[in-house]
């Protein structure tokens, strides 16, 4: 730690020590770190993708991380849900997941919601967060969070997975395509989809990195793009997304 870091208002010496490896050229500035501390992020849900996303946001120093996930953890979840453990199987997961996040960073606050937000709650949450990291399995939930983010004028990062493929898109409200622009016809839900945990973590971590960039003002967010990594084929694709003039959500 140098003298300048020690003088940064709003960040204690202990915090600067904690984040020392992510401060400097090519990573975050001290002001960026302070912006992270002053930020609130909503991550829903916190399974295979949202769990690693929430963990990275917490460890990076996002001041308040709100997680939402209903239901009990089951054995097949443990191939990818990194916030869980054998001890959580058969139990509701939001509280133990939240507690785990708290053990990873004493300098932040974690709020755990034990259900998925409905329309009204999504709107309410969008009003008190700075960004939404959307990782639900259903398009109904993803489109709900997309609408809430667009209405609130906050960025949304949508992460999705299937098999060994992960996709991520970053929405800048009123400026770039939203999820409803990309999927004007709601795709069907597939409950028992195949997935390898490594692609879940990779996709969730990519989403967290975009959130960290946006919240801290670091680097170039991939607004308006969809990144797809097809690990089965070993192929990365970037799609430049177009807004729809007739989008019922963002136009």
């Amino acid at each position: 730690m140098n003298d300048d870091q020690a003088k940064t208002p709003g960040l204690s010496d202990a915090e600067l020590q904690r984040y020392a490896r992510q401060l400097g050229d090519g990573v975050l500035s001290e002001q960026g770190q302070l912006r992270l501390k002053q930020s609130t992020a909503l991550v829903t849900r916190v399974g295979g993708m949202g769990g690693p996303a929430a963990l990275m946001l917490a460890m990076a120093g996002v001041g308040r991380v709100i997680i939402a996930h209903g239901g009990e953890m089951i054995s097949p979840d443990l191939n990818r849900q990194v916030l869980g453990s054998e001890a959580v199987i058969g139990h509701p997961r939001s509280e133990p997941f939240g507690e785990y996040l708290r053990t990873m960073n004493q300098f932040i606050e974690v709020e755990a919601i034990d259900h998925e937000p409905d329309d009204e709650e999504a709107d309410e949450l969008a009003q008190r967060v700075d960004i939404i990291v959307s990782c639900p399995p259903t398009f109904e939930e993803r489109l709900r969070l997309n609408r809430a983010a667009v209405d609130a004028g906050i960025p949304l990062i949508d992460a999705a997975q299937w098999g060994m493929t992960g996709t991520m898109m970053v929405v800048e409200p009123a400026k770039s395509a939203c999820l409803a622009c990309v999927y004007p016809e709601t795709p069907p839900f597939e409950e028992f989809f195949p997935v390898v945990g490594a692609i879940s973590s990779m996709t969730g971590t990519m989403a967290a990195l975009e959130a960290i960039k946006i919240l801290s003002g670091t680097g170039k967010p991939v607004f308006g793009k969809m990144l797809t990594y097809d690990a089965f084929e070993g192929r990365m694709t970037t799609i430049h997304l177009e807004r729809r003039a007739d989008c019922p959500v963002c136009s």
Binding site: P187, F189, T237
Partner: protein
Amino acid sequence: MEIRIVVTGRSYHTAAAVPETLVLDEGASLDDALQLINDALEEGASLPGSCLIAIDNQHMGTVASHSNTVLQCGQELVLIAPVAGG
């Protein structure tokens, strides 16, 4: 002319028989290419209407909702079947 085909996303194994390059007549359109791809899918399978279409990394819409366009030799047509999963 030839164009490259990339099919990815959900259930893309149903497109295993789709060739990596497609031979089309000069002046062929996106819809012509989609028809050939559908013909090459597993019996009974079809591209989902919500499948995202991109040509040379530029978003063109979905299978169910897109503007038809004339394809050029050497272009890459990407089809991403929607993925979800939490």
